[in-house]
């Protein structure tokens, strides 16, 4: 009956899966297995239940959906035998988590098993509870767990202790009940119970100030003694890790002592001796020993001050830092970061070593070291440190450059002793890593340049030179282009030469060349090009001799596909051509950007900037990260129709992208239900069959219906709006004429290709109606011309009326401009708009369309949406 003994089918299945040569083969095997398992489940097969679940767990591990097995877990848990329960609980932990509602059903079984007479079954239940317990379960089952903390078998006690950690994390209010039983565990002789008890007390202290206070008062001395015993214990092979006695117990004790000592001088005092003993006596040639030392250093740094101990700790870190093992150096850097608040001077002594670590080839070390260097910088060492970092910028990895650049810029900004130095350093950064410089950084640079009026000439010349070598660095180009636009004349005339400069000869035409290169450079983006256009405009006034040439460059963008560039080009061109008289006034040098106002404004906007950037990258550790598809779906405004949020959102995108729609073969039952929920979408997106069944009447549209529907339309026109016959007059007349036109020649021959189709009320709400009139061009049956007529059924005038339509991929839609964007009240006039739809699947699929109307009245924007899938059948086929 053992499901796992060899020769049974779990083994066979794993073999079969392993034998698969391709992913497709594997999917086929898994699909077959899943089908068999489902059948077996449906038959409520008792004998194979746990074998099935074991298989499902393997399939789950391969990444296939296995939701349909969840109920089986519950059934197995509820059965009597240990083997069944064991697999049931394992499945519960793997296939479910605390957020599934199914989990509520298991609370009762858990309660029974926690009270079971068989301690192994109690162990299973505790283990499951510890791993997936939700807040509700924590409340329901806390009394059981509390009782089990005193259970006779130590295996149960230690499990209960860890289970309690989960419970108090979920519901901190419950911690009060656990303080005494947890504290009792600290006196345990059993090693496993002691170690878990210490962990529990550490976590209790985190969630409950009372627990912290209680343990600090009553148990600090006891814990110090326990640690002393551990340090002086004779050799015990059982807990020995590569020659170090019981490091895990040491580490947990040190951690709890740290919590107790923090902020309490007496408790800190009580542990001083033992900490000194650990710090001096622990061997540091093994990883396990270093792990203890590391924990000990952290405790020393965190508890209340004791000068001697701290010296000891910093020395240990110094030793770590010069260790050949990268892991040890990493933790040293990590800890020095904490030490710096305690003893900055001591950390400064290791500056050179830390700087070397920034240049390490291991990204983890680089990152830690850079952060450490960043906090080590001060007014006195900023110049050499910045030089080192900027030099390294050149050779650093691409992935590291972004972070390094940000830190360097921040250092320069924070500690720059004078503007000249600031500008020099920033230019160096821009030259080496301009593509990594954030917008706010180069904005700030421009503000500084602007305010340093004696350095304008120097800066623009330096930028000119930098541009010659590094024209691919976007933000360098931007700053250069801006400065050339402002101070181009200083570049040419060598105004404001500093002693350190070599004179250069730049002609006006050279200057224009720079801007021209920037504007032509394919890799540079819109902002840069727009800035370049402004620079050109400014230069046209500064260099009258180049005015013609500049005009030519500007004019080239008259036909730019980018609206912004096109507009600027046209405007600037007309300034140059027609408004000579105001040009020089328009392009005067910018007033000095005041540092102070700039930085306060920036400070104001900074939090917002920070929060947006943080939101994207630093999303919650293991929280549910939002699928990036979601906003897109929102944009497309189909979210309302999507009951299943993310997964089907992805599907929808796939649809749009034309990815095959057929549900993945291994898709689970739940998946399919979600699909069903989105059938609206499927309709829209063209699955032929559902569409036909959903509009069965369309294909029996006959001539008499053709006769009726326009009448119906007319009826509808006058009925809802009480306002008289006028409603249908004037503008209304146009579509009617159309209708009649269409009808006139051959009203009874709708099958005659390209002539008459029944008009359609495409949308009707209490406020708005849309009517479609169809026609086709002879000889082009794929293309349908639609005249849409919009009628306002309310007594308010709608302004800013916009009609949008979306069609699936096999259709092409072209919208002509609407006749107006103001829709008169009460049907007293209408807007018409022509649409042209081309059906690439003409004859196979019918037309479908989604529509969206937005309009304003009372200064409120209203949105309405509709979907049309009852287009006259004969339009398409």
């Amino acid at each position: 009956m053992n499901p796992f003994s060899s020769g049974t089918r779990l083994r066979d299945m794993i073999r079969a899966i392993r034998a698969c040569k391709t992913a497709a083969e594997e999917r086929a095997v898994v699909r077959k297995e899943c089908a068999a398992i489902r059948t077996s489940m449906n038959e409520n097969d008792q004998d194979y239940r746990h074998r099935n679940l074991a298989k499902l767990m393997f399939i789950h591990m391969l990444g296939y959906p296995t939701h349909f097995g969840q109920m089986e877990c519950l059934k197995l848990i509820a059965s009597a035998g240990f083997p069944e329960k064991r697999i049931g609980y394992l499945g519960l932990m793997l296939l479910l988590d605390e957020r599934q509602e199914v989990l509520m059903l298991v609370t009762n079984s858990l309660k029974q098993d926690l009270n079971h007479s068989n301690q192994y079954i109690v162990g299973l239940a505790l283990c499951a509870l510890g791993n997936i317990c939700s807040a509700e379960m924590a409340r329901d089952l806390a009394p059981e767990v509390e009782r089990l903390l005193q259970f006779r078998d130590p295996n149960v006690r230690k499990k209960a202790a860890l289970c309690t950690i989960r419970i108090i994390k979920k519901v901190p209010d419950l911690s009060e009940n656990f303080i005494n039983p947890a504290a009792a565990l600290l006196k345990e002789k059993h090693h496993g119970v002691l170690i878990t008890g210490i962990q529990l007390c550490t976590d209790l202290c985190k969630v409950s100030p009372e627990a912290l206070e209680f343990l600090r008062k009553k148990h600090t001395d006891g814990l110090v003694k326990t640690l002393k015993d551990a340090v002086n214990s004779p050799y015990t092979p059982e807990y020995d890790i590569s020659g170090i006695a019981d490091p895990f117990l040491h580490i947990r004790l040190l951690k709890l002592l740290r919590v107790l000592g923090q902020g309490d001088a007496d408790a800190s005092d009580a542990m001083n001796d033992i900490l000194a003993q650990v710090a001096t006596k622990t061997e540091s040639n093994k990883n396990a020993g270093n792990a203890i030392l590391y924990e000990c250093v952290e405790t020393i740094m965190s508890i209340e001050d004791n000068g001697g101990l701290r010296v000891l700790a910093i020395n240990i870190l110094g030793r770590f830092l010069s260790n050949r093992d990268n892991n040890i150096r990493y933790v040293a850097l990590n800890m020095l970061m904490k030490a710096i608040t305690v003893d900055a001077q001591a950390v400064q002594r290791h500056r050179a070593t830390i700087l070397e670590c920034v240049k390490d080839s291991d990204a983890s070390i680089q990152k830690r070291a850079l952060e450490l260097v960043y906090v080590l910088v001060n007014e006195t060492n900023v110049k050499p440190l910045t030089k080192e970092l900027i030099d390294y910028l050149e050779v650093s990895d691409q992935e590291f450059k972004g972070e390094l650049t940000a830190k360097i810029c921040s250092i320069i900004e924070k500690f720059s002793p004078e503007k000249n130095w600031y500008i020099d350093q920033m230019l160096k950064v821009l030259k080496k890593a301009g593509n990594f410089v954030k917008d706010e950084v180069w904005h700030a640079l421009i503000a500084v340049i602007s305010s340093a009026s004696d350095l304008h000439g120097y800066t623009v010349r330096a930028l000119y030179k930098a541009f010659q070598t590094s024209s691919e660095q976007e933000s360098l180009v931007r700053v250069a282009v801006w400065c050339i636009g402002e101070y181009g004349d200083m570049l040419v005339n060598n105004v404001g030469m500093l002693d350190i400069e070599d004179p250069i000869t730049v002609t006006e035409s050279d200057t224009v060349d720079v801007v021209k290169i920037a504007i032509k450079h394919h890799a540079l983006d819109l902002t840069t090009k727009a800035m370049a256009l402004i620079a050109l405009l400014k230069l046209s006034s500064r260099f009258p001799s180049c005015s013609e040439r500049i005009k030519d460059i500007i004019v080239q963008h008259k036909g730019s596909f980018v609206l912004e560039l096109q507009q600027r080009s046209l405007e600037f061109n007309s300034i140059i051509e027609k408004h000579q008289n105001i040009r020089s006034a328009l392009v005067e040098r910018m007033p000095i950007l005041d540092d102070a106002t700039f930085s306060t404004r920036r400070a104001g906007s900074l939090p917002a900037a920070a929060s947006t950037s943080g939101g994207a990258s630093l999303n919650l550790p293991n929280g549910v990260a939002k699928p990036s598809a979601a906003p897109l779906v929102d944009l497309l405004d189909l979210s309302d129709d999507l009951p299943a949020p993310c997964s089907s959102g992805g599907d929808f995108l796939q649809d749009l992208l034309g990815v095959d729609l057929s549900p993945a073969p291994s898709q689970s039952g739940i998946g399919q239900i979600q699909k069903a929920g989105t059938d609206v979408l499927l309709d829209l997106l063209s699955i032929g069959t559902p569409l036909q069944s959903s509009s069965p009447t369309t294909d029996i549209l006959s001539s008499n219906q053709n006769d009726k529907s326009p009448i119906a339309t007319l009826d509808a026109l006058s009925s809802p709006s009480s306002l008289s016959a006028q409603a249908t007059s004037s503008a209304r007349a146009a579509p009617m004429m159309d209708l009649l036109d269409g009808f006139g020649p051959s009203p009874l021959k709708p099958e005659d290709n390209g002539s008459v189709y029944p008009p359609l009320v495409a949308f009707q709400s209490s406020s708005l109606r849309i009517t479609f009139n169809f026609s086709k061009q002879p000889g082009n049956p794929q293309t349908t011309l639609i005249q849409a007529t919009f009628t306002n059924l309310t007594p308010n005038v709608f302004t800013d009326f916009i009609f949008l339509a979306a069609v699936p991929k096999f259709l092409q839609l072209h919208l002509d401009p609407a006749s107006s964007n103001i829709l008169p009240a009460s049907g007293n006039g209408s807007i018409t708009q022509n649409l042209r739809v081309t059906n690439s699947q003409h004859g196979k699929k019918s037309l479908v369309m989604r529509t969206r109307m937005s309009y304003k009245f009372d200064n409120k924007v209203t949105l309405e949406e509709g979907q049309i899938n009852n287009f006259p059948q004969d339009l398409g086929s």
């Binding site: 283990c127 860890l162 890790i241 590391y294 293991n622």
Partner: protein, 142 residues
């Protein structure tokens, strides 16, 4: 606290995945993929620690298998490194000279061992002998 434990081979096939925090299935797959990519190409001389989102991953390679623990940023990296090694020693002892195939065909036992070793994201037992004995008792109940 341990957030999750992953055991993957060089190709990125997951051989064991235990999560102590709730995650969507899709998110789990993403995490497994990302962690594999983070660790698989690192130089053996590099640290065994990589920052991963707002946590860090402590990993260790044994032949073609990567053992990875995702832990809090303030946790003791060196201790968790020892913890991985201890787990491997237990597996080695239990399967007497463990290889990847043992873990594939006996994945449920591996989970069982892990449940005796770590619970609720914290270390439960550090004695190899105690865990092997406990496994013996549990196997007798099958």
């Amino acid at each position: 606290m341990i957030r999750f434990i992953l055991l993957q081979n060089r190709q990125g096939k997951t051989r064991l995945a235990k999560y102590y925090v709730p995650l969507e299935d899709s998110e789990k797959h993403k995490v497994e993929y990302e962690v594999h990519r983070l660790v698989v190409n690192r130089d053996p001389k590099f640290t065994n620690f990589v920052e991963f989102r707002t946590h860090k991953v402590i990993y260790r390679r044994y032949a073609g298998l990567f053992f990875a623990l995702c832990v809090d940023i303030t946790d003791n990296e060196l201790a968790y490194l020892e913890c991985i090694h201890l787990f491997v020693e237990i597996l080695d002892h239990f399967f007497s000279n463990v290889c990847e195939l043992d873990l594939v065909f006996n994945f449920h036992k591996v989970y069982l061992i892990l449940d005796e070793f770590i619970l609720a994201g914290e270390l439960q037992e550090t004695s190899k002998r105690a865990i092997i004995e406990r496994m013996g008792e549990l196997e007798k109940l099958e």
